[in-house]
Structure formats: structure tokens, C-alpha cells
Symmetry: C2
Subunit: 349 residues, 2 copies
Amino acid sequence: MDRATAPRQNRRVTITDVARHAGVSTAAVSKVLRNAYGVSPAMREKVTAVISELGYRPHAAARGMRGRTYTIGVLLDNVRNAFFADILDGVQDELRTSEYTVLIGAAGFGPEEQARTIRSMVDRQMDGLILIAPGTPRGEILTTAASTPTVVIGHHDAADSHDSVVDADDVGAGLVVDHLVSLGHRDIALVSAHGTKANRWKRTPEIVLSDGYLEAMERHGLTDHARVHHAAYSDDGGFKAGMTLLTADRPPTAVMTGADVAALGIYRAAHELGLRIPDDLSLVGYNNTALAALAPVQLTSVDQAGHTMGSAAARMLIERVEGRRDRAMQTTMTPRLVERGSTTAPRAR
Amino acid sequence: MDRATAPRQNRRVTITDVARHAGVSTAAVSKVLRNAYGVSPAMREKVTAVISELGYRPHAAARGMRGRTYTIGVLLDNVRNAFFADILDGVQDELRTSEYTVLIGAAGFGPEEQARTIRSMVDRQMDGLILIAPGTPRGEILTTAASTPTVVIGHHDAADSHDSVVDADDVGAGLVVDHLVSLGHRDIALVSAHGTKANRWKRTPEIVLSDGYLEAMERHGLTDHARVHHAAYSDDGGFKAGMTLLTADRPPTAVMTGADVAALGIYRAAHELGLRIPDDLSLVGYNNTALAALAPVQLTSVDQAGHTMGSAAARMLIERVEGRRDRAMQTTMTPRLVERGSTTAPRAR
DNA sequence: GAGATCGTGTAAAACGTTCTCTACAAGCAA
DNA sequence: TTGCTTGTAGAGAACGTTTTACACGATCTC
């Protein structure tokens, strides 16, 4: 077959093909695609018919050159965190019926890696960004948010360039302390991640949680019993923290943590030291992930409504992307205590 | 300030800016960016200097119109699956030092949702795709793979259009059966996901696992004791399967599952029925996720080396993307049994 | 009935890259 | 010298969309 006349095998159907087929201009097709103003019902019908006949799909990269890419980027440090999965589900559910695609960047924990990922998303011309507790310096986020609609989840620092969704972590800490105190505990320790202020976030979830814990302890007149131990939110981080706390001079009778997975590390430490949960030690997690509900685990935890946070973030973001709102807003969710088998009254001393 | 002369505030630095600044053509800059042939050392140096001076970053969407986007897409059904997280880590680690960005699409379980996500990735002109056990009809994948380099993880069906990375699930099943038989078990049930062949995958992980289980049982002369129960890989799916199996006329003394999380659902069912693990029931998971290792859980499981699978997949994919290989290949990993506290000899009857 | 307005459609210019040619100079062989 | 090769650089088209500016006819307003 003559090479010149043969249609190239794998060529995509383009907007030009659609336009030619329908006997209209590409501009008209573009308008139909974007539900833009100035197209008659007849035109719309004709064009959509041809689109489905030809199986046309807009080329997102080409779109990105002028208009939107219809892509939302979600940044998170690690997919292992089950709480993030809840948030993600909320985002996806909210956007399921829309024409937006959600793409996730799992950047790792390093600030530089995260910054790289965020830049990648911007370079790919994503329409909007949802950043889950970014570890990147705050200025970097503000710069990004200045040019791309952005929602920050987790950090309590508000800004007028981006929207925020947070959980009232201080209230959550209070719920836990109240619960433990009502059971009779007084030596209640908190295990939380390092709340580094170095990157200019003043109110990370960890810091707010810690503040809430200290306030609650003070409220109960237990300031002298308050103890905050820093550890990574991982099984191993929890284990080390547990070992340190539980072999101390006067070990706590109850430990609350900022993440379920860390609580399970403490569980392991307790186990190793011959302590039983909850008889010898009451243990409380945070986020109420699927982990906490597992039969062998039965961990008392604080529910953050991750799904709702995710869908709220998505809704807020789309408002901004589509220009329906031009002022920043913050959404705060209220946490709830979920009591399970890992907490009980302390043993009489 | 005169609006016409004022530089537009948020304009990106483009390749043209770099070219102008360096006093060269855009083509030259492009060549430097891509390490293409035909650039003198002096030119390279001059251009890279200007690039970093101006903080230029290539516009990925624009690149996508002609060449690569330097983006790798990973499709998975659900981020909750800890095994996928292992794979993902492998992929990321392999690509960390490269110029490629990994973006994840969490598509959900429906074939149509997954197909939509795959199409999104193709529309975004991604350079290569890693599909983790896609539920999409096989033909759809073959079509995609014909135009975009693709690696399929999980399905054992080989094809000459895409590469594959699999674990020898039949061997894994054999390891488990051997282990349980050596402990004295004879009534060993398998709980696995539905291995629907409807979408033309003939050798999904579930099917291969199930076949391996049946073969192993036969090898031990236990064909009559073999029992396969289908359930979703979730806590709830496992729970229901457990309830059915454990309340049957002659309940199994050991249950192996195709996923750790399902094993934990069975744990819950056993718990509810007053059965203790491992005394009354031996339980084996699959994938050896972080879940299995948790202190309160201690689940015997089969390790699939997810990290290695991920990095292998990434390496294979990049070879194809960069045209260093033009024939399909399959990589098979060998599973390993990890014994923990959830298996022991059956009670004497 | 003149002008203004409105609704619908198109032509053509962007957008920021890559890629295919072509040009040119320098070096080399005859 | 002539012709050939090689290495380097640039001009300009192409990629598939959106957007801007404008044209045209129909309807409205006075």
C-alpha cells in the first residue's frame, strides 16, 4: 500500500478528526467539550454523536498547553498510612462522577523529595493540589499555592493563598485524656511525632495534639504527670518509645499516641516486657484506622473522619479550580473517641 | 507601571527564555535537556548555567505533545493493600535517582473504573505504565500495551506486548500446605478471592494460588479434604468466610488465605465463635504485610518480596521506554514462608 | 427602518516543547 | 585545490488543544 496514503496505524483520534467528521470547526468541538457558552443544542448533539462514534478522547497533555488538564494531584508521604487511605477515598468519591482524574504522588518523608513531587505536579500542569500534611517548608507551599489552587490537609496554619482542612487535634487529645482520667489513670504519657517547627509550620498536627494533651492534663491538675515522648509514627518508632517509657522509674499506666501504628509498636514493647494490655497498660491510638478495629488488636482510638475530610478537601479545591470562590477557607472537623478493649482502669498500686 | 512593559507576574520560565538568555537557539537548549547528540561541552555548560540561574523547569505538558512526559503511571485498585505499598516502594526506590516521576492511580475495584484510570494515564501521555493485577478485560490491556510500554504485575498470563512480573503463587500455596501438613493438619481450607475468568485473564494470582493449593493437597493424598472458599480480600470478607467455614459440619483445623487482611477477618470470626488461635485453629495469611508482623497479630504468612517485584518492574519498564529492549519478558519471584504464632499442631480429636 | 444587541459559529493565533532539516565550518583524503 | 565527512548549531514545522477576535444573521428597541 502506498505509504503516503495509508493512514498511520496508531494515530489518535484528534479534535480535528471530530471537527472534519461533523463538518464543523475545531473551535466548536472544543466548546462542546468544555460546556462553554455559545453552542446550539443542535450543534452539541451533532458533535457529541461524532465524538462517541469515533471514540474520541481529548489529549490531556495538549489541553494542558492552553487550558486545564482535568487532573488533581494528591501529595502524601506514604501510602502505608491507613488514615491517608481514608482521606483518599473521600477525595475519590467526591470526584468520581466528575471529569477530573486523581493522581497520587507518594513522595516519602524527606522535605526535598516532597518538594520535588510537588514541583512535578505543577510542571504537569495539574489543575489543583491536595497536600496531606506536607513536610516541605511552608514558603514553598505558599509559592505553589499562589499559582495553583491548593488545599492543605492537617496543618493548622491558615493562609490566604490556600484552603485548609484540619481535625481539631487538641480536642481529640482532650477526649483521650478525659477518658483515661475517668478510668482512674493519672500517669498518662503521650507519644507523638517530632513537631519540628524548622520548616516554618507553627501548628502541625503533632504540635496541636501535644498542646491539647498538655492543656487537658492541666485541666485535671495532672501537669506534673504529663510526659511527652517523641517517636516516629511506625511500629518500630512505637516500640522504642514503649521500651523507654515502660522501663522508666515510674512507668505510665496509660499511653496515648498520635497514630495507631505507633500504639501497636508500644503494644509489642509491652508484650516483650511481660505487660498485658489493657490490664497492665492502657493504650490509645489515633485516627481509628482499620488497624485499630482488627480482632486481635481492639485498640481504643480517636476517629478523625478521614473520608469526610477528603471529600471536603476535594469539594473546596474544585470550587477554586473552577473559579467559583476566590477567598481562602478553613474547615475544621471534630474528632470522636472510639472505645475498644485496649483501655481499662489501672491496677491498684 | 505601564501594563504593556510590565512582565506578567506569574509567567513560567520557558525554554525560550533560557535560549534568549544564553544567546542560543531553543533547539540547542532542548538538546541539552535531553542529553541529545550534537552538543559541544561549551554549549552544554553555558546552557546548564543559565537553566539553574533562571530556575527553569521543563513544562511536562508541553513536552508531552512531542516527546516524553517523564512520567510513569502505576495502577492499583486500592492503596489499603499493604502488599501494594511494598511494590510501590520498590518502584519508587528504583526510579528515585532518575528523572521520571511516579504517579499513582487508585482506581477502585470495578473494571470500568480501572479502565477509565488507565485511559486517563494514556491520555496524559505517560511514558510507561505499571499495572498491578488489573481487573480490566485482558483485551483492553493488550490494546494499551500496544501503544504504551506496560508491565503487568500479578497475572501469570504472558503476552508479547507487555512485560510481566509475578510471584510463583502455586509454589507459595505449596509451602503453606506442606507446613500445615507437617504440623499434622489434614482439614486445610483455602480462602481466596473470586478468580473470575470472565475478563479473559486465565491465570490470575487467585487461580494460580488455588491450583497450587489443590495440587499440594493431592500430593499429600488430601484431595478429599480440600476446600476452596471464595471471599473478598477484606476484613469483612474474611469474617464471613470464617463464619461459614467454622460453623460447617466438619470445620477445618487450619485455614490459609490469599491475603493477610482476610486472615484477620477469619481471626475475628474465630474469636466470635470462642475459638482460639492457634490452639483451636491454625491460620495462614499471604503477602507477609506489616499487618502480619504486628505484635498482637503474629500471623504466619507467605512473603512475596513485593519490594523486589516493584523494582524489577520499574527496571523492565524503563528499558522499554528508552527503547533498550524490544521483546517482552517475564520475571518470576519465589515466595518464602514466614512462620509466626498463628500456626501450631491441631488439637487431638 | 436604523441601529443596537444577541446568539451562534469560524479562522487563526497562541501554548512550550521536540524533531527534522538544512547550514556551516573544520578537518581530512585525494 | 576539490570533494567528502564530521561535528555543531539553528530555522521552522509540528504536536492537539484552547482562546481571542471577529463575522454574520436574526431579533429587539426606539
